[in-house]
């Protein structure tokens, strides 16, 4: 039943590989810096490379520069009289336009500030995936330790820790964020925001892990090898870290794949409503704010590129899970930080 869908896993791995490559190699792959603005190209459409001109002649890849037709309506038309060649391996970038100031290479069009959507997407992958991955690892760490202690200690400790975890599950994350924002300085460097977001998400995600780990650990404690270890005089910490926790490895690995897409969505939602990364930082969520204007979606569909990227990442990870025989529906629980982020919906 499962094995013949193993190709799903392959597709998932391929998607994630491409996305990760894009994130890692962003400074080299992106034709522009993330905050390069082209004031005359707000919401400009993509400039696709051509190799054949209007007269049917073949050339090395080139683009047609965009001409402003109506600034107010943000309409542009390619100027087919002029060919701007692409230059490769210059200034530390894979490819860019030969006349970058007047005729930039915009593979996915421009956003409302005239910034290259494609370049921002690549840089955004670093922030969005980075936060999600760090937060997921953090959640695993916290969850495993808390769940492990609860499961191995039992009794009042277990009760206290697990009630605490349950409490965290229902506490809307928005309040944590609001309160932190109130006591923190107004201007936060992007690195602090990164750490803050990762920390909060890790905290919100950890109870799921803690519950699972506790259950596994409690079950393991009833096994014979555990009794043997106790009989050999193993200390509590040793029992927990050498004997009990390793048995949760499979569970944790699955949860990592489950939490990461949930956190990608959570980051997007938070930044979308203005509680995550500040505007100029190119995270997928902050980029999606351009898509908040629904009529813009019809006229400038490329503003949905970050949504597509999020979709791809979530799909990729789901496919990997599916191909490995784990059902992504388990992700539903882990998805709730995203839903809890709902009421934050921008406190204008």
């Amino acid at each position: 039943m499962r094995h013949h869908l193993g190709w799903l896993r392959g597709i998932g791995l391929l998607i994630m590989g491409v996305v990760l490559l894009g994130a890692v190699a962003a400074p080299w792959l992106a034709p522009h810096a993330a905050d390069d603005q082209h004031p005359d190209l707000l919401f400009a459409p993509p400039t696709w490379p051509h190799i054949r001109d209007a007269g049917g002649h073949w050339h090395a890849p080139f683009i047609y520069p965009l001409r402003l037709v109506s600034r107010l309506e943000q309409r542009y038309a390619p100027d087919r009289q002029v060919r701007v060649p692409l230059v490769w391996f210059t200034r530390g970038r894979l490819v860019m336009s030969a006349d970058d100031r007047r005729a930039p290479l915009l593979l996915l069009g421009a956003d409302s500030f005239g910034r290259d959507e494609f370049s921002r997407l690549l840089y955004g992958a670093r922030l969005s995936l980075g936060v999600a991955a760090v937060a997921a690892l953090g959640a695993l760490l916290v969850g495993a330790v808390v769940g492990g202690i609860a499961g191995s200690a039992g009794g009042a400790t277990e009760e206290l820790l697990m009630r605490g975890a349950e409490f965290l599950l229902v506490l809307p994350a928005i309040y944590v964020i609001l309160a932190l924002r109130a006591v923190m300085p107004l201007v936060l460097p992007a690195s602090t925001v990164f750490a803050l977001l990762a920390g909060i998400l890790a905290l919100v995600g950890s109870p799921f892990i803690a519950q699972g780990v506790r259950a596994i650990v409690a079950a393991e404690r009833r096994r014979e090898y555990y009794a043997a270890a106790v009989a050999c005089g193993a200390g509590r910490a040793r029992l927990l870290f050498r004997h009990l926790l390793p048995s949760t490895r499979g569970f944790l690995l699955v949860q990592l794949t489950v939490l990461t897409p949930a956190f990608v969505l959570a980051e997007a939602t938070l930044s979308y409503v203005g509680m995550g990364f500040p505007g100029p930082a190119p995270s997928w969520g902050s980029m999606l704010r351009d898509a908040a204007n629904v009529s813009a979606i019809a006229d400038f569909p490329w503003v949905l590129a970050p949504a597509a990227a999020i979709f791809l990442v979530v799909l990729g990870l789901n496919l990997i899970l599916q191909g490995s025989g784990v059902d992504p529906a388990a992700a539903f629980h882990a998805g709730s930080p995203v839903r809890d982020a709902g009421p934050t919906a921008d406190l204008r």
Binding site: L169, Y175, A179, V294, N318, Q322, D327, G342, P343, A345
Partner: protein
């Protein structure tokens, strides 16, 4: 079971209390208050000070919290500054709307997700693969984007209203139809990922159930395949879905915020959003408490559903 339920109830009360207290204090701590928000920039400081005194916002946080506690103990949760009505009167109204939306979504998700899951879990083949792929796609769709797209489509085609809960000037049977018509888009947006999740869970459980010895035995006895799948195997395979049902109810109830905001559904989420924006302390507190209550209720329902589906749990 009864002792267990009592313990859960006690925990729920504690939870609601802590969430409400935290929201009250945190809303007060956040910069700005109802008066600054209401009068804006350039208002006369005397006017603002008067208003603040009128709303009791000039008290220190702890005093205000104490007063609120004393009132809450008598089930008086304060008066909304924004709506001028008792919080205890506002919330049930909006909560009912949210419940309507959540239950509609749940019904839809169940009606679509479960049968599809049974089909894809019991009959491997191209159809099952197709269902599975669609589910995977839907699971990966952020509800925020889905609802935005729906609203956009509604605007362009005019097939559905762009938000709201009812039209003007309808009553009786027409009102029911009208509300259903308004309900469609938000409910579908909310239901899609849940339906996909039900399908996946059900499919897996079904596939597993069909390998169980009792199914083989039944098959050997000559029970027709339709009855085998839809009655015998389903009864066992429904368990995983039942176990998440309550949790889904909880998350749907407290989690329809973003859909409510995008589609202007006048539910609890929108109420909380407006309250947060206006810094309406008591209303924020009330909404947060109601949200926590929903989640707690969800997990109790979840346990009950599991007990109903699995006699072994009932025995515990």
């Amino acid at each position: 079971m009864v002792r267990y339920l009592l313990r859960r109830l006690g925990f729920a009360v504690l939870l609601v209390f802590v969430v409400a207290s935290a929201s009250l204090v945190l809303t007060r701590l956040a910069p700005g208050d109802f008066a600054t928000e209401a009068f804006g920039l350039g208002a006369n400081p005397r006017t603002v000070a008067r208003a603040r005194a009128r709303y009791g916002l000039d008290e220190p946080i702890l005093t205000q919290y104490g007063l609120w506690l004393a009132h809450a103990a008598r089930l008086d949760f304060g008066t909304s500054l924004l709506y001028g009505r008792p919080v205890a009167q506002l919330i049930p109204q909006r909560a009912a709307n949210t419940a309507l939306l959540a239950l509609a979504a749940l019904l839809l998700a169940t009606l679509v997700g479960l049968p599809l899951g049974v089909v894809s879990g019991s009959r491997p083949g191209p159809l099952a693969t197709a269902i599975r792929l669609v589910s995977l796609l839907l699971l990966s769709m952020p509800p925020l984007v889905t609802s935005l797209l729906f609203v956009f489509v509604a605007a362009r085609t005019g097939w559905f209203p762009i938000g709201g809960m009812s039209s003007l000037d309808v009553s009786g049977f027409g009102l029911v139809r009208d509300v259903l018509w308004h309900l469609t888009l938000p409910a579908v947006a909310l239901a899609l990922p849940v339906a996909a999740m039900f399908e996946r869970l059900q499919s897996q459980a079904m596939a597993e159930a069909l390998t169980q010895p009792f199914v083989l035995a039944a098959r050997a006895r000559g029970v027709p395949p339709g009855r085998l799948i839809w009655r015998d195997a389903l009864r066992v395979a429904i368990r995983p879905c039942a176990s998440v049902y309550g949790l889904v109810v909880g998350t749907l109830l407290s989690g329809s915020f973003i859909v409510e905001i995008v589609t202007a559904w006048p539910g609890l989420g929108r109420l909380m959003y407006d309250a947060l924006r206006a810094r309406d302390v008591y209303l924020v507190t009330g909404c947060a408490a109601a949200g926590a209550l929903f989640l707690a209720a969800g997990s109790v329902i979840s346990d009950l559903a599991l007990a109903a589906a699995d006699p072994r749990v009932r025995a515990q």
